[in-house]
């Protein structure tokens, strides 16, 4: 994607809350924050899925771990985001290191299954944490504090914080993709055996990639916890991993903004269906708004069958792989 549209979008994103305020639509600022957080989570998954070629069905575990880490610290009285959020990233990174060290020794469907299994283990672990809500989840006392006179409980301030973090993450991850490391990881995806044969310790590279993705997933989790003031084991359920994968494929696997586009489209569709009645659709199917997932499923199926490169793939020029697809 070229520079100009991206900058225009950024300008729009910066202007958005100010405009929303005027139209008394603060709810949408909150919604947009949520979208951006999921964009971050989906982008972190895209790193291992799209660029690394590792089909992990357990990414929700890292998002959830970050959410719980941030949430537990808040409940225990440590409110500074400067401690809480890096801590969330560290917890997720460690979890990714542990899970990756075991899982990455397997391939194909076994890898999918074992990442799924570990995610389920993490899920049941959070369910068992009675001290922090167990199955009911944990209500958080407040959002974290940033200092510098910035109050995160103000939705607009929170929005800008999330926006900054998302932009920084996108830039960092793009640099990574085009750096030596990213090139190596993409090549490993293409032909791991040959990469070993030319001298790359492929397991280590995949593991590092896995950990980095986990860390950014954890950051998304911490932001989610703060956004809703609530954490709950369902964040780690494998169907949540599925949702993240849907976002990535909708947006475009291995494309720079795949995660972002996917999050916007998926959450946008869900929001549209849930809260905005479309007359002719209601005439056909009276309760359609409660069946948003049906629409999601149909769209996902259509994308997989007919547009596997996702939305980004429809618009971006297919650049030779290895030179990056934007």
């Amino acid at each position: 994607m070229r520079r100009a549209p991206v900058l225009a979008l950024l300008a729009l994103a910066i202007a958005f809350p100010l405009v929303a305020k005027d139209y008394d639509a603060i709810y949408y600022v909150s919604f947009a924050s949520r979208v951006m957080i999921y964009a971050l989570a989906a982008t972190s998954l895209n790193l291992i899925l799209g660029y690394g070629g590792m089909i992990s069905f357990g990414h929700a575990a890292f998002v959830g771990a970050g959410a719980y880490a941030a949430g537990v610290l808040l409940v225990e009285g440590i409110t500074s985001a400067w401690i809480g959020w890096p801590a969330a990233m560290a917890v997720s990174a460690l979890l990714a290191l542990a899970i990756g060290a075991v899982s990455l020794r397997t391939r194909g469907v076994y890898f999918i299954m074992i990442t799924l299994a570990f995610a389920q283990m993490a899920y049941y672990l959070t369910v068992s944490m009675k001290a922090y809500g167990g199955e009911e989840g944990l209500n958080l006392p407040s959002r974290a504090t940033l200092g510098f006179g910035l109050e995160l409980k103000d939705d607009v301030t929170f929005y800008y914080t999330v926006l900054v973090l998302l932009v920084v993450a996108l830039v960092l991850l793009q640099r990574l993709v085009h750096a030596r490391f990213g090139r190596a990881v993409q090549a490993i995806r293409e032909n791991e055996t040959r990469m070993q044969a030319i001298g790359y310790p492929t397991f280590q590279y995949k593991l590092i990639c896995f950990v980095i993705a986990g860390a950014f997933g954890g950051l998304a989790g911490a932001l989610l916890a703060n956004q809703s003031n609530y954490v709950n084991p369902s964040l780690l359920h494998w169907t949540q991993s599925g949702m993240l994968m849907i976002m990535v494929i909708l947006g475009g696997v291995g494309y720079r903004y795949g995660g972002l586009i996917g999050a916007v489209v998926l959450l946008g569709i869900e929001e549209l269906i849930a809260n905005h009645k479309i007359a002719w659709l209601a005439a056909l199917l009276p309760n359609y708004q409660q069946h948003a997932l049906l629409g999601v499923g149909l769209i996902l199926l259509a994308v997989v069958l007919f547009a596997p490169q996702g939305l980004a793939g429809l618009f971006a020029r297919p650049a030779p792989a290895g030179n990056g697809r934007g």
Partner: protein
């Protein structure tokens, strides 16, 4: 006996009831082109797999230079200077020829755990890649996607990838597989040009090429080395003839 650059002692490997490698002992002397020949099913590729580190042997030892590499993983052996090419082409078809070779050059020039600097800005890396591309005879094809190359060109790239790792010893597994006479001629020329700088262990079926290139030849039959010597001696060896052509030919 001269201690070689590569020293293989009593290497063994079996798959269930099948003995693929049967106590193979072999020396490859630095600077030589050593050919490994044998009928189909003799276990040549399995031997290469064990030498390169892709497959662990059941027994035996492999020494490279002064280092015992028997237990070492493949990427470490490459770092030590032992590289291989594949009989069935194994390249990166969706990447350009330049990117293919650049990957191999990258592996040998510092760490790839580098997250910030764009790799494409490393001109030295790409200069070296272009030089190698020229060396294997693919000059002018840098920007072509590897998957669109003709079969012969892909085989050249195949060797190029291994060469780009700056090996001391190159294990070439049937580099001329599937090549026509002109392409084979080019490949022979390439291997010949390596003679002083790189030691080569060459698996080949093309006997003409073997006799033109090899300083010494070893013959592998049913996983065992039955003879080693200079090409003429091997050609006249009765046991070798029997193995290839059956009992009538030896008598």
């Amino acid at each position: 006996m001269v201690e070689g650059l590569l020293s293989v002692r009593d290497l063994s490997k079996r798959f269930g009831g099948l003995i693929a490698t049967d106590g193979v002992s072999l020396e490859v002397i630095a600077g030589e082109i050593h050919a490994l020949i044998g009928p189909n099913g003799a276990g040549k590729t399995t031997l290469i797999e064990q030498l390169s580190g892709a497959m662990p042997p059941d027994a035996g030892a492999i020494r490279f230079g002064s280092v015992d590499i028997t237990g070492r993983p493949q990427h470490e052996r490459v770092r030590l200077g032992l590289a291989r090419s594949y009989q069935v082409t194994s390249i990166f078809p969706k990447f350009t020829v330049l990117d293919n070779i650049a990957l191999a050059v990258q592996a040998r020039s510092g760490s790839s755990v580098s997250f910030w600097r764009p790799r494409d800005s490393e001109t030295a890396l790409f200069d070296e890649a272009r030089r190698l591309i020229g060396q294997v005879g693919l000059a002018g094809r840098e920007t072509a996607l590897a998957g669109t190359l003709a079969h012969g060109e892909q085989r050249q790239l195949e060797v190029g990838l291994a060469l780009a790792t700056q090996p001391k010893l190159l294990l070439l597994d049937e580099p001329m597989a599937g090549m026509g006479p002109e392409e084979s001629e080019r490949m022979i020329g390439l291997i010949d040009s390596l003679r002083q700088n790189v030691t080569v262990l060459l698996i080949e079926h093309d006997m003409a090429a073997v006799f033109r290139l090899a300083d010494r030849v070893s013959v592998l039959v049913f996983g065992r080395v039955i003879a080693t010597g200079d090409p003429v001696a091997i050609r006249n060896n009765a046991e070798v003839k029997r193995a290839y052509l059956g009992d009538e030919a030896a008598t």
